[in-house]
Symmetry: C2
DNA sequence: AGACAGTACATGCACATGCATCGAATGCAA
DNA sequence: TTGCATTCGATGCATGTGCATGTACTGTCT
């Protein structure tokens, strides 16, 4: 009996996660698309931008990125290819492991990230805080 | 400054939502695929099964379902078409509004839903409770 | 050195999704 | 009744995703 109740709590919790996720991701996608990006694209850019150094060594292995975003390896590969095509990142060889690929943010990519970062923050504030305006 | 902190909290919260959502949905999909269903399919079946009466009037308007699942209208239309093709639901006309479609669970659909419901609950327990065993 | 299992990334393929649009039906107004 | 805006659901199209596989490279074992 108590187990039934606990299950119901989980179901409600899951429904809530689905709802918040769907609404926020949808809005995020809509806002980001105005800058030519999708939500996944921003995730990757954000990983790259928040990297080891903001303007020094900005190289990441694809696998490193894969650990930080919720995408399959193939999806990430194509996404990086799209970002490269758009001139936001560059792909280079690893001298250490020639199977690997080093992904590096271009100036254009860094600029775009800086441009859309406030947009993402605004959406999160709007959708997650639900109006809890942090009035400084 | 305080606003910066609040934003960081939101970002962390969002990252957590993304992680939990991705892991749970992925696992849910994997388990459900063993029964020939996707996560979205189950959502719709669940709406239909939890309907007005469990074995009487099981008709739902497509729009009613649309309000309860996080899918676009077009995706839902195709999803219902797939469910119908698999013999899990039937589509019929509304006498009231001949534009509308009434979706009804078939016995096969109801059986399948009853079969996968424990599977879904198990996944949610495993992924969300994270070991918080409800020991009665 | 040579063979072989394992890893890293790319790609073929199938499929689900969203946007824009379409056709049908409704409701309201003239 | 006719005309028009609106709504409901289906569909064409472009795109993003995952699975399975392919290709290139690494490390190990003999």
């Amino acid at each position: 009996m108590a187990a039934k109740k606990a299950e119901q709590v989980l179901v409600d919790q899951w429904r809530d996660i689905l709802a918040v996720h769907a609404r926020t991701l949808c809005e995020l996608d809509r806002e980001l698309h105005r800058h030519g990006l999708g939500a996944s694209d921003f995730e990757v850019l954000d990983v790259l931008a928040g990297g080891p150094a903001s303007d020094g060594d900005c190289s990441y292995r694809v696998q490193e990125i894969s650990d930080r975003v919720h995408l399959s390896q193939s999806a990430l590969s194509r996404l990086i290819a799209r970002l490269e095509k758009d001139g936001l990142v560059t792909r280079g060889m690893c001298p250490e492991d020639r199977r690997g690929v080093r992904v590096c943010l271009t100036p254009k990519g860094r600029t775009l990230h800086a441009e859309v970062l406030p947009v993402q923050r605004a959406v999160l504030t709007r959708m997650l805080a639900g109006g809890t305006a942090t009035a400084d």
